[in-house]
């Protein structure tokens, strides 16, 4: 019954979506970035990332411009977005259990004692994802530094 991917896991698409949104938010407003550069920054394969960027563009979080000066740029709505907004743009609403899917009622929900626990667990998780602002996270990015020269070799040249 154990699965290779554990239960309740974020999709790879949404994970890459958050990576690419944070990457775009590290850049000054109006900066356009090429798909290939975004792929490199997020470790996401180009073709997969391209579909993710389309979903983010449909949600008006980013815009794509064609042509010589083209590329992907963050829109104001994207800069103001939370991690939850990005996940929702890519995967749709998060529902930890089917009994929480809006508009689809579980006939057990009136008396099932697990239902309110699911509602509480989901609220606790979503509160944290909704408070996590993409722009604030971008301000925290500390890239791994370039390899330091292991030693500063000083050559004393005797005249």
């Amino acid at each position: 019954m154990t699965q290779s991917n554990s239960s309740m896991q974020l999709t790879r698409a949404a994970d890459y979506g958050i990576r690419v949104m944070i990457q775009l938010a590290t850049l000054p407003t109006g900066t356009r970035t090429l798909l290939s550069d975004l792929s490199q920054a997020t470790d996401a394969p180009v073709s997969f990332l391209s579909k993710i960027l389309q979903a983010l563009a449909r949600a008006k979080l980013i815009a794509s411009q064609r042509g010589k000066t083209g590329g992907f740029e963050l829109l104001a709505k994207g800069r103001a977005a939370s991690m939850y907004d990005v996940i929702e743009a890519i995967d749709g609403p998060i529902c930890l259990n089917t009994c929480l899917v809006s508009g689809k009622s579980c006939e057990r929900s009136g008396w099932c004692p697990a239902h309110p626990v699911w509602a509480r667990a989901q609220r606790a998780m979503l509160d944290i994802l909704k408070q996590a602002s993409i722009e604030e996270l971008a301000g925290l990015v500390k890239r791994p530094e370039d390899p330091q020269p292991s030693e500063l070799k000083v050559l004393l040249v005797v005249h």
Copy 2:
């Protein structure tokens, strides 16, 4: 990119697992219940529920007895279990994102600003699922009542 099942959703197997554990915990210690009765109580298909019960038995949360007086019964470990314990017995550990999978490090985790948010979101959710005791939930079960007679008809018989 939107999927029919939303991201981060509990498996049906784990959902049925929680239902069946709560059902067993409503009964006095030592009570054995037939698969067919458990299927009816949980709305889970018999063949699927059978596999779920095997996983719960492997985790020593329940025991199955063969024969005329056989059936499934809750073990002490099962009565003391939390909703999280049941999910883990069926699906393995919950990891909201691959970067949280124990023993599998993400090379971005040292600097990626989303990583600590995922860790916090997971902790908040798991705290609630770990505090939800199967036995306590069973004590809260209020089954839908049998249909009430809509009206008490009193026949006045005149002698």
